[in-house]
Symmetry: C2
Subunit: 256 residues, 2 copies
């Protein structure tokens, strides 16, 4: 299995604090050491860092911890290989283009009886169930809305339908973003917290690091952090219910 | 305009030396400071680092200079914006998937009367002539070979034809790779060198750095480096002729 980390905010925010704790799970406090990756949207643009090394030994992960990249939509992943060998092409997040936007996807889970060629335009480069699921999602959305980006409500409904079909194959926790929406689907384990004023201190589970968000934020800021398991031990994280698809926009969760 | 750097080898090689000289042109020895990027293939996988900062100030460029990533196919770019604002989505190289492989593209030049919507599956995320040209190339290849990857000769011919059409709009120096082939098209300025045994010393134009490749290589190694302008001052670089499309494989140039 793997672990997921996502962030969605109403102002570009850096993820250094959360990523530091998350990163430790890639070989230090947990054994998800078969690669890692992180994607940051900046407007329409998207930075994507992946590495087949563990996140605790990767020089690129060290850079991401030190270099505050500000973004409203972030998706990160640490991998413990179930399907597909340890290789760069099998590191999440995966990225493709649809309707003139980049889409980024990371998965935690294991999908059974879920292989074979994909009929359509998006083909897998690696050989994970995860990338295949992503290609099928994009294929389905493209076919459903050939004219381009639908309304958020239409998008949510279409995504919910294809997600249910894929989730019938096994565990399908995922994060998906196009830099405008961030979707989080829970199959077995996914938690989130929304931080907003009054901001307080947070302390990581995986490293003895504390941050006081009050000094780093304004009254208007709202930041949602989503993770397979809570990253802090002094805040209340909400578990997403199984089979729930949550849309995050401006740090605000909704079910539509 | 911009500058291009490519590398193609028969064994995975790091590009730290060439990149150090190239990087200096992004704000130190030259003024291509409107962003930069580099893509490394590792098997089917592909690392892509882009930044809208100049290559001389980017912490990510610093990492790439220090961290020897070994690859047989590398494409890098430093940008001086002509079309499209300074933004992450306009940084080269661009990457898309075709036939289950990643394709990476970087362009130096300026294409006139070359905008409007693209009929087809690949849409631009940013607003450069370069990304549009890349989308059209992939669209054309996909349409020409709907069954999947053609032979290298068929691919070369199809690419040559669409390149000539696009080049009619202006300056179209580019590098394109799918991790198996590396194509270099010269419109006005593109040079290359093939390093093989007996290896010797090389000294950068842009930084006072010398490397002796003899200590770093084996007798079998062959490395082609392609650049807008020569990167070293004590070696003989070959200019690619205008309108020539060269295919590099295993460090060996050919015209097919």
């Amino acid at each position: 299995m793997c672990q997921l980390l996502g962030m969605n905010c109403n102002v570009p925010t850096d993820i250094c604090f959360s990523f530091t704790g998350f990163c430790a799970r890639g070989g230090q406090t947990d054994d998800h050491q078969d690669g890692w990756g992180i994607a940051f949207f900046e407007g329409a643009g998207c930075r994507l860092y992946i590495d087949e090394k563990s996140s605790v030994t990767s020089p690129v992960a060290e850079l991401v911890k030190q270099y505050p990249i500000h973004s409203k939509h972030v998706i990160a992943h640490i991998r413990k290989a179930t399907q597909g060998q340890i290789a760069l092409e099998n590191c999440h997040p995966f990225r493709r283009e649809l309707w003139g936007r980049y889409w980024v996807f990371a998965h935690n889970g294991d999908l059974k009886d879920f292989d074979g060629p994909i009929e359509g335009l998006y083909k897998s480069v690696g050989n994970t169930d995860s990338e295949r699921a992503f290609c099928i999602i994009l294929e389905t959305l493209r076919a459903a809305f050939p004219e381009g980006m639908p309304t958020t409500e239409q998008l949510y409904k279409a995504l919910q339908a294809i997600t249910a079909q894929i989730a019938a194959h096994g565990v399908f926790n995922y994060l998906l973003s196009d830099g405008v929406h961030l979707f989080a689907h829970c199959s077995t384990s996914l938690h989130f917290i929304v931080r907003q004023a009054p901001f307080a201190e947070a302390h990581l589970v995986d490293e003895d690091v504390t941050v006081n968000f009050q000094g780093l934020t304004t009254l208007q800021d709202r930041v949602a952090v989503i993770a397979t398991l809570p990253l802090t031990d002094n805040e209340v994280w909400k578990a997403i219910a199984p089979n729930q698809l949550i849309l995050f926009q401006d740090g605000q969760p909704s079910l539509l």
